[in-house]
């Protein structure tokens, strides 16, 4: 699988991965602000799926209709929709595209649910590799603490309740997240993740992220040109 740069696309795609509570969303937001304030063409891709796919996914989740296979496939559908309608056009138009999670989330989650690894990876092989992947590596306890502090209402699939790991949603979530972390660690070398120590302070992490982006992406190529006025 090639990266967007290797495919000769003008834009670049930067993804962040990590457990819930690893602080990755904060970091990608700060990265976006930094790039924007330099006047660069940057786009933060939120998980905007089309209404249709969204309906089906939320119906499946609400009614707990999903098996590991259909869970995997409906999320692949959702990803394909976003990939074909949003990510590819943006990268082709020369944007730096920032993604909160990419295919590695699916690789980890679906494998933990028991789907064969080669099958899952085969399905996603229509997607190009990100040019950079930051992996925010926080200890399991830190991530769990951040998420579970407020005793949130954990959703059925989010807590991995379908895996029957425990009848207690919090306990199930702990075991589930632990397994996903193992998957991330196993993928880390294979997919050249840039590993960020997410137990550090926010500013320390952001400094590393910005340095790496500046070193690996020729930022001056992405300066946003003011549109030509239509009339004087």
């Amino acid at each position: 699988m090639k990266t967007f740069a290797e495919l000769g696309f003008p834009g670049r795609l930067i993804a962040v991965e990590g457990l819930d509570g690893s602080g990755k969303s904060t970091q990608i937001y700060l990265l976006k602000r930094w790039l924007e304030l330099q006047g660069l063409k940057v786009f933060f891709s939120e998980w905007n799926s089309s209404e249709l796919v969204k309906n089906a996914t939320s119906k499946g989740k609400k009614r707990e209709l999903l098996s590991p296979t259909t869970f995997s496939l409906i999320h692949a559908t959702d990803f394909a929709d976003r990939y074909e309608r949003q990510l590819v056009p943006l990268v082709r138009a020369g944007y730096i595209v920032l993604c909160d999670r990419y295919i590695f989330t699916a690789f980890g989650r679906d494998t933990v649910r028991g789907c064969p690894q080669e099958w899952v990876r085969g399905i996603y092989n229509f997607a190009a590799m990100p040019d950079l992947v930051f992996f925010f590596k926080a200890s399991l306890e830190v991530s769990l603490q951040r998420i579970l502090e407020g005793r949130p209402q954990l959703k059925y699939f989010e807590a991995g309740m379908d895996l029957r790991l425990s009848s207690d949603p919090y306990e199930s979530f702990r075991i589930f997240q632990g397994r996903i972390l193992e998957e991330y660690l196993a993928m880390s070398t294979e997919f050249h993740f840039l590993v960020i120590d997410a137990n550090q302070q926010i500013e320390a992490q952001q400094a590393v992220v910005r340095d790496l982006v500046a070193a690996k992406v020729d930022l001056k190529k992405y300066i946003l040109h003011k549109p030509i006025p239509l009339s004087k």
Partner: protein, 250 residues
């Protein structure tokens, strides 16, 4: 279609054939958590274009099988609880791009596989499938999707006991579609491919492309090709004979 006289069903209630449970296989790695050794029943697939007579044949097979003492269950594309409604809407708007639509269909198939086909076989039923993964694969192949990608995707599917392909020439299909719906269907005419702006031309071209791709798959999947130009009764007799020999297999 001309009505044809029904040949009396050959059933003998005192001698119901009890089929042997044979080991089953998935095309690829299958679905997680499924024990294949517990699957009895038979999976009978009928493939063919719209107007090839699939539903007529399936209806008659159901009647005959039940008469012979076998429990049946039917499946078809776009009938899952999970995504069938959304798939219908997607088709009407033509708003999803190729990979997305392909995966959406695969989701629909997987849902029915896990909730109808596999439980049906586990319960020892005759599962009659009005189309299977092959139609889905062929539609995508015609639209330029990679065959290796499709084979991996549909590696979840269980291998049927028999796949009948009702072969009807495109020229004949046109007439049957007009007789049934007074019009040609947008998707069955492959209008999204831009082969021709003329729907009639597009239909003929598209159905020929589909037939070519089916032949390509035939090499791998070994369909039983059935001449669909005969009367429904003649065709049904052929299907029953084949099914009888499958049920009698030692």
């Amino acid at each position: 279609m001309k009505p044809s006289p029904r040949v009396p069903l050959q059933t003998n209630p005192r001698r119901i054939l009890v089929p042997r449970v044979k080991p089953r296989q998935f095309y690829g790695q299958g679905v997680p958590g499924m024990d294949l050794s517990k699957l009895g029943g038979k999976l009978i697939v009928v493939e063919g274009a719209d107007g090839s007579g699939r539903s007529t044949q399936i209806a008659r097979l159901v009647e005959w099988l039940e008469g012979c003492g076998h429990a049946t269950v039917q499946v078809g594309l776009k009938r899952s609880t999970l995504v069938s409604e959304e798939l219908d809407q997607a088709q009407q708007g033509n708003i999803l791009s190729r990979t997305t639509l392909s995966l959406f269909y695969a989701t629909d198939f997987a849902d029915q596989l896990e909730n109808i086909i596999l439980p049906g076989l586990r319960a020892g039923r005759m599962v009659l499938a009005d189309r299977y993964i092959y139609t889905l694969m062929v539609r995508d192949m015609v639209r330029g999707m990679d065959l290796a990608w499709l084979k991996n995707l549909y590696g979840i599917a269980v291998v049927p006991d028999v796949v009948f392909y009702l072969n009807v020439l495109p020229e004949e299909l046109v007439e049957r579609n007009f007789a049934k719906n007074q019009s040609l269907d947008f998707w069955e005419s492959g209008m999204d491919l831009g082969l021709s702006r003329d729907m009639f031309d597009s239909f003929l071209q598209y159905q020929s492309l589909v037939a070519v791709k089916f032949k390509e798959l035939q090499a791998t999947y070994g369909f039983t090709i059935v001449d669909g130009h005969r009367t429904p009764e003649e065709i049904n007799i052929e299907l029953r004979k084949r099914i009888e020999s499958i049920l009698a297999r030692k």
